[in-house]
Symmetry: C2
Subunit: 454 residues, 2 copies
């Protein structure tokens, strides 16, 4: 009798987050101040836009950090999440590979994002805050934060890129249903927004502008702080519940992955699955484990960018970090996988890539949607375009197994559903996906604007 799902009970929910920095011989270097470019050696990071507990986590070297009971209590609304064995897809691909996927789409907002949103809302509440401000593109992150703040009795203010606000109303409605206040960005509520609107009243907005507005809103309103959905250490930390659960589930299945895979924009869902396994590679237990971070060819920081210091945000108001980057001024093509359009990458992932502990690869939008349809027709699940990048890498590895006859164990993070991204599938069915060419020259121009740090 084939088994499809490996389910944990609530008592199996991890009690601690796993901090990979404790196990890295060479962790990423310190952040630099956005203006002076000096090393930011200790917390608090100026400006203290985040709750203090999160800043402490950002700099922590503790291997395990306890998850507060109230956070675990909310996570139980959907966690532990299932691991599936893709029996039907394996048969369709006729591959000897054994394919598993961790299914994070079961959360109410439909992705891995609430794993950190809940923790961030909890610490904001503990600090006595009134609300959290954030930015969102298509709304994946914004909806996760509204869901989380609502449950802790906090307000949430979301600056949503104006073109998405108007073109993609569904996630906006979801945010409002969870009590969030959503404004199209640039808005007239901040200096940053008004300045942009004065220059270009018809602007479609950008994530960089929305970040600036959210930070300004947070620092100019008493009782408010800012919330970020990826890239930084504490966010990746909160996502490690995924990989810790997955380790238990793979043990139930009697397998250990040869290859672990995740799509990476800022890197948090991939790190969440991969880091708890990568621990075994770092300590020498599993030297042959392969970890693959998958990005979009539209924004190829890991595969076509350089490993250097760069600002984390377009407006250069946040810290400078050493990371793989295509330059903070690079504007990627408007691919449907909006979550993979970040110019940089989590510094901890970049250090691991640089040290040869992980691999990166990039795929084109047209390819990944084809394989996502193929996956949906076998497994039923219609994934987000971001997630489809991880599926494409899994497909390639499974086909390599077919070629070589090896029965490798592949585990990927199925990070979210595509219920609000069906326009991408529609464009694919109608052969109406705009093609894009990577403009290498644009990357070179953007890289010329990096800070000069020896």
């Amino acid at each position: 009798m084939k088994q499809y799902k490996y389910l944990l009970q609530e008592k199996d929910l991890p009690t601690h987050w796993y901090n990979i920095l404790a196990d890295m011989k060479n962790p990423p270097p310190f952040y630099r101040h956005p203006a002076t470019l000096e090393e930011m050696v200790n917390p608090p990071m100026p400006p203290p836009v985040f709750p203090m507990a999160l800043i402490e986590q950002e700099f922590s070297k503790e291997r395990y950090i306890e998850i507060p009971d109230k956070v675990r209590d909310v996570l139980k609304l959907w966690r532990p999440s299932p691991i599936y064995r893709a029996h039907r897809w394996e048969a369709a691909l006729d591959t000897p590979a054994k394919i598993y996927y961790k299914w994070e789409g079961v959360s109410p907002p439909g992705s891995h994002k609430p794993n950190t949103a809940v923790a961030q809302a909890y610490y904001a509440k503990e600090e006595g805050l009134e609300g959290l401000a954030t930015e969102t593109g298509a709304g994946q992150w914004g909806s996760a934060l509204c869901f989380a703040t609502q449950l802790f009795g906090l307000k949430c203010k979301v600056f949503m890129v104006t073109i998405s606000y108007h073109q993609k109303p569904y996630r906006r409605i979801l945010m409002e249903t969870w009590g969030g206040e959503v404004v199209p960005s640039p808005s007239s509520e901040t200096h940053a927004g008004r300045a942009i609107l004065a220059k270009d009243p018809e602007t479609s907005g950008s994530l960089g502008i929305s970040i600036s507005e959210a930070i300004e809103y947070a620092v100019t309103h008493d009782g408010w702080k800012y919330s970020l959905g990826s890239v930084v250490n504490f966010v990746l930390l909160h996502q490690t519940v995924i990989g810790q659960e997955a380790r238990m589930q793979m043990e139930m299945a009697g397998d250990y992955p040869d290859i672990v895979i995740g799509c990476a924009g800022g890197g948090s869902n991939a790190a969440g699955l991969i880091f708890p396994f990568l621990k075994d590679k770092l300590d020498g237990t599993r030297p042959d484990l392969r970890a693959i971070f998958v990005e979009s060819t539209a924004c190829p920081s890991m595969t076509r960018g350089i490993y250097a210091y760069d600002w984390g945000d377009t407006a250069k108001t946040g810290p400078v970090a050493k990371m793989h980057t295509v330059g903070h001024g690079f504007i990627p093509a408007p691919v449907h996988a909006g979550g993979l359009r970040y110019h940089g990458m989590a510094p901890s992932i970049c250090a691991l890539l640089d040290q040869g502990q992980a691999e990166a690869r990039a795929y084109h939008q047209n390819a990944i949607l084809g394989v996502a349809v193929n996956f949906a027709q076998s497994e039923g699940i219609v994934v987000a375009p971001e997630t489809a990048h991880a599926i494409q890498a899994t497909y390639d590895e499974a086909m390599a197994c077919k070629e070589s006859g090896e029965a490798k164990v592949i585990l990927f993070n199925c990070s979210g559903h595509g219920h609000f991204d069906l326009a991408a599938y529609d464009a694919f069915h109608r052969h109406d996906l705009p093609d894009y060419e990577l403009e290498q020259i644009k990357i070179e121009q953007a890289l010329a604007e990096l800070p000069q740090i020896p």
Copy 2:
């Protein structure tokens, strides 16, 4: 430590469907022929538009009917589904009631519908068919059938009410992603469709027209049959996996429901949860169990209609059944809960209502969306407007407990998510829901058109 979810393993998936007709002292009377009005005593029902195995199930008096292994194998892609204890919502309502809900939104199409779609696709494949034709309104049922037929290598042709086809593209895209062919109905592919289009080229269509087209398509194409998503016995039978799982899960939770609740359009999700519990009331083990079927005030067959013979479809091509009906010609207001706009009700549910074994009630759209938002803000889950009717009934019972101080155990079927129905929530937030008054006179006119059967 509070427990939120009660999860079963795949080995616990029911091996048989439960047929309540075996336990009813007075089962519903025979169907009547749509033209002659004569009793249809034995299978096959003319015309044999369904696969033969389903027609046999329709007339079966066996208490338990074995679920084929290949059907169980597909159900495992999401079943057993979880039962949740609504701790957060109970606290928000400050009620002593213990509220549980069975969460059917975890299926890939997002509702309970695939429980029968998978079985129907299996029997169609076993019979050597090429494809199944069906109708769909907003697309809940159509997407479930495309999902199921795809997995069994069958084709699926869906006649989608033309106004929904154009206004609600997301479920159409979902159907196409699962390999279905979707045409706006009325279409030029059938006599029935062409006749309507000739009279009114700009018609917005109706479910009645789409049913006629799907049946015509099935009977005029070799290797094709018709598929139906609710009302008839075999569909309700297939849904009883819900209630059988729920019995095991309530036992894990150490509780037995005082009240079981489901929303009812044709009645299949409600019956799926309720019938396996109602067995205990019928055999005298649980005489006080209350079963509540909840409908929309826009189409109040159980609460404002009559219990009489009526045609199951508007075009009077299908069998006549004894049921609660507002008349086959009644056209309900265009409420967002499109699944609750059927003029009749499953005959088995109607017989149970008539015999005092169950209760019915109706709610207005504006009320149910308010309580759905309230539920989403406590439990996270954003439900379909249909499901919101069950939540409203649960709310009322929980508030009655608050009044009386009783700690009753309430279990409702959370039949589907609202990811493709967010326009309803948006209208609610903006106080922009069209109100409707029940037009009793329209019901009386429709009831005047019932067949004259003594």
